[in-house]
């Protein structure tokens, strides 16, 4: 019996064909991976499989029965639960209520008992190791917490078929491991998963079957064991694999670009000293609560540090001022692209050139032609999948949106590039593109700070600092092994640097 079978699915959005006659079959009890590059149509398929959208043509059956009517949400929920790529948390409600949205009356009675709801929510959260107070307003959650709440909610339905659309993109390693344990035990209990991720090692870790989409078409479905990683990447990109070609940057110069001294911010971090030289790529790793993102935000002016200084190219930056940082030669990719990365409703061209509008014309005038030139170059450099610089960023797939954010950071040819989780939600090929861009920037003389717990992001770094509970707990020169890094990230390992 198949948990779900979709055949001949086609879906268009205006001129874009998001799915072109694709099919997928997920067998009962398996964990099935769906992979493909950004914009391949994965999330679109998910919206069909969960009844949010109707395919233009095609047929979906669950365990042999035709899919319910689109309006019958209750029926859909009994068939499939889902963690969507786009947040479905309601920011104005508490975490507890979000967990039990539209089923707050836990006992089935007409009246909601809030104390019971809170208790049950607390239990559920601790069961999944989510350290969040159920009474918090969801708007106050961090990206990671929000993701964990979504996962806990989806798993709590007791559905036999669960779809996870890039659940791990914003989780740190221990959280991912907890999620996988959870998934394994649920699978043992007979639950079927459709799992979407751009982290291919995760596919090999927990999935039995994999389906690859490329350019809105179905390419292959195969047992994971029968595919090598290279074959998988080839199926996704349509090209023979040439990935991982090591970088050959020129030697690092001596003059330091970034100098951070005694930087401290509340309970997030304290006493941070750091310097990055011209052409050097430095990674900062750490778990979600290590303070690494806050450090990055303090450096680029998104937060105002309580103490300490940040200097770029010898000039001290005004604390808490992004314009000062940009003027001082900083370019950056913020952690949450939806919140701080781009302005929906505006074009790719405009979004990617905000920091350099001064250069696009005189007296504040912006030459549309120059802007289009710059944007087209960036679209080509970063391989952004779009119809052109005038397309609205809001219409791009998640990974392509991330590339626009990167383009914005690179636009000003910054002396210092600060990247926070730069490859979240980006497909393998695009990840290579982004990391190549980082490489090129470093080769061109920029100092780069990569803040991430994605080991792939950190691999090209000349050295990696690990933060733990607000301080630097270790430093590793290039050539570290995954194990030693991860153990320090989790606060159990020896630091080699100190």
């Amino acid at each position: 019996m198949n948990a779900v079978e979709a055949s001949n699915i086609t879906k268009r959005f205006g001129q874009t064909v998001a799915l072109n006659d694709v099919h997928i079959t997920v067998a009962d009890g398996e964990t099935h991976a769906l992979v493909g590059r950004n914009g391949a149509g994965k999330s679109t398929l998910v919206s069909m499989l969960t009844g949010l959208n109707r395919p233009d043509s095609g047929e979906i059956t669950f365990r042999g029965e035709p899919a319910p009517a689109l309006s019958d949400r209750q029926a859909w929920r009994t068939k499939v639960a889902c963690v969507y790529q786009k947040s479905t948390i309601i920011p104005t409600l508490t975490v507890a209520e979000n967990l039990f949205i539209n089923r707050q009356n836990l006992d089935g009675g007409p009246v909601i008992s809030w104390s019971r709801l809170r208790r049950t929510a607390g239990d559920l959260l601790s069961e999944y190791g989510v350290d969040v107070d159920p009474n918090t307003d969801a708007v106050d959650l961090t990206v990671e917490q929000r993701q964990l709440v979504e996962i806990a909610r989806a798993l709590s339905f007791g559905a036999k078929f669960i779809i996870l659309d890039e659940p791990t993109a914003q989780l740190d390693a221990p959280a991912i491991e907890r999620l996988f344990e959870r998934m394994r035990s649920l699978r043992a209990a007979g639950v079927t998963f459709l799992f979407i991720s751009h982290h291919l090692q995760e596919i090999f870790e927990i999935c039995q079957t994999v389906t690859v989409f490329r350019d809105a078409r179905h390419i292959v479905t195969s047992p994971v064991a029968d595919l090598s990683k290279d074959q998988l990447v080839e199926a996704m990109t349509g090209e023979a694999v040439g990935l991982g070609a090591g970088s050959n940057r020129p030697a690092i110069a001596d003059d330091s670009v970034l100098d951070v001294q005694g930087l401290a911010l509340g309970k997030h971090f304290r006493g941070i000293d750091l310097s990055v030289r011209k052409g050097e790529v430095v990674g900062i790793a750490g778990s979600g609560s290590s303070g690494k993102v806050e450090l990055g935000e303090a450096i680029v002016g998104l937060r105002k540090a309580d103490a300490g200084t940040v200097a770029v190219q010898g000039r001290t930056l005004k604390p808490g001022s992004v314009p000062a940082a940009l003027a001082g030669g900083v370019g950056f990719v913020p952690e949450d692209r939806h919140k701080e990365g781009f302005v929906p409703g505006m074009s790719i061209g405009e979004n990617s050139t905000f920091p350099i509008t001064k250069r696009l014309g005189r007296f504040g005038f912006i030459s549309g032609r120059k802007r289009a030139e710059v944007a087209e170059k960036m679209i080509a450099d970063l391989d952004i999948k779009t119809s052109g610089p005038d397309q609205d960023v809001a219409d791009l797939s998640g990974g392509n949106q991330q590339k626009v954010v990167m383009a914005r950071a690179l636009s000003s040819d910054p002396a210092l590039l600060v990247l926070m989780d730069p490859t979240a939600g980006v497909d393998v090929k695009s990840k290579e593109n982004l990391l190549d861009a980082v490489d090129r920037a470093a080769a061109g003389g920029a100092a780069v700070l990569v803040i991430s717990d994605e080991l792939d992001d950190l691999r090209p770094c000349d050295r990696v600092l690990v933060m733990f509970h607000g301080s630097v707990a270790g430093e590793f020169p290039a050539g570290w092994t995954d194990n030693e890094l991860v153990s320090v990230i989790e606060g159990i390992g020896e630091s080699s640097g100190e």
Partner: protein
């Protein structure tokens, strides 16, 4: 973006209280008003006067309740102020003879109240159709409806006040139940029911979900369109009911009944913490907002504020209450 290290579950009690503070943001302002009122006039703190205030606010209260519900689902309805006059006026022209400025259709007198409420359903349904089905901007559509509905009333009544007696329509506005005006009972009971409904019932909570994130609410299985239709119609019906009560209290329906009320309705709701962006604020807050506005007016009247500076003082007090609420709760508003 905030702290990663959120306090753990043990801190639940105090946290809850902070979250609730916003609903109570107006209480300090109300206390200040009560003190000022007491200083301004010995009459102020008498039961009689305070009941007068509640009665005077009862019709606005129902409109505010309707508006607050619509705001919570993330829409808005400006046309409520016109419905307040249109609904009872339509009911009256249908039952009244031409001599009393009616249309002389000879509908039986008892139909007046049902027709009045149906008029509310009608206006609400048109709003819902245009806003939800055609997906037009709620602001501009209901502004257009505000003008149109008032215009239709003016056209139907040829600009006349309708002051003939229609007892069935007037009943709710001038009856006395258990020693209190019926309008006071209706106002408070309807509010209490609504507070409990949106606080403790699944369907009530779905209003917040829709206003907070409509796509997410839909994904959670809430029939967002259906709920929105019901809320928009309900708000119109509440305004129609308020219109009938107003007719009962004042004895006539003028062609400008409700003129300018939408400002007060929004002011009361937003003062009480309901957000124009949807998903936020409580009906208890809205209730406080209504009472607050009523007290301000009552105090200014009792204190015989200079008529020429009356408006300025009133505006300044509203601004002051907002700043006070902001400073006491420390929460930003929207």
């Amino acid at each position: 973006m905030s702290d990663v290290s959120t306090p753990v579950a043990a801190a639940a009690r105090p946290r809850l209280q902070v979250a609730r503070l916003r609903d109570l943001a107006l209480l300090p302002a109300i206390v200040v008003l009560l003190i000022v009122g007491f200083i301004a006039s010995p009459i102020f703190l008498t039961t009689g006067n305070l009941l007068d205030v509640v009665q005077q606010q009862s019709e606005l209260g129902l409109v505010v309740l309707g508006e607050a519900l619509v705001l919570i689902i993330g829409k808005m309805d400006l046309s409520l102020e016109s419905t307040l006059g249109f609904a009872p006026a339509l009911a009256m022209v249908l039952v009244l003879p031409t001599a009393d400025h009616g249309l002389g259709l000879g509908l039986p007198e008892w139909t007046a109240l049902p027709v009045c409420l149906l008029a509310g359903v009608l206006v609400g349904a048109i709003n819902a159709f245009l806003v939800l089905r055609l997906q037009l901007s709620g602001f501009i559509i209901t502004l257009g409806m505000l003008i149109t509905v008032r215009g239709v009333q003016q056209g139907l009544t040829v600009g006349q006040s309708l002051s003939a007696s229609v007892p069935s329509l007037a009943y709710l506005g001038n009856a006395t139940w258990f020693g209190l005006h019926a309008s006071i009972w209706i106002f408070l009971v309807v509010f209490a029911v609504a507070i409990v409904f949106v606080g403790y019932f699944r369907h009530g909570r779905s209003l917040y979900a829709i206003g907070g994130n409509e796509a997410a609410a839909k994904a959670a299985g809430i029939r967002t369109t259906r709920v929105a239709v019901v809320v928009i119609i309900l708000a119109s019906v509440l305004a129609a009911l308020a219109g009938a009560m107003m007719y009962g209290r004042l004895g006539s329906v003028s062609a400008s009944q409700g003129n300018g009320w939408i400002f007060d309705a929004f002011a009361a709701a937003v003062l009480g913490g309901v957000s124009l962006n949807g998903g936020k604020g409580t009906l208890f807050g809205a209730l406080c907002g209504v009472l607050c506005l009523g007290l301000v007016l009552n105090i200014l009247t009792l204190a015989h504020a200079n008529p020429y500076w009356f408006l300025a003082i009133r505006g300044a007090i509203i601004l002051g209450a907002l700043v006070l609420a902001r400073l006491t709760t420390g929460k930003a508003q929207d």
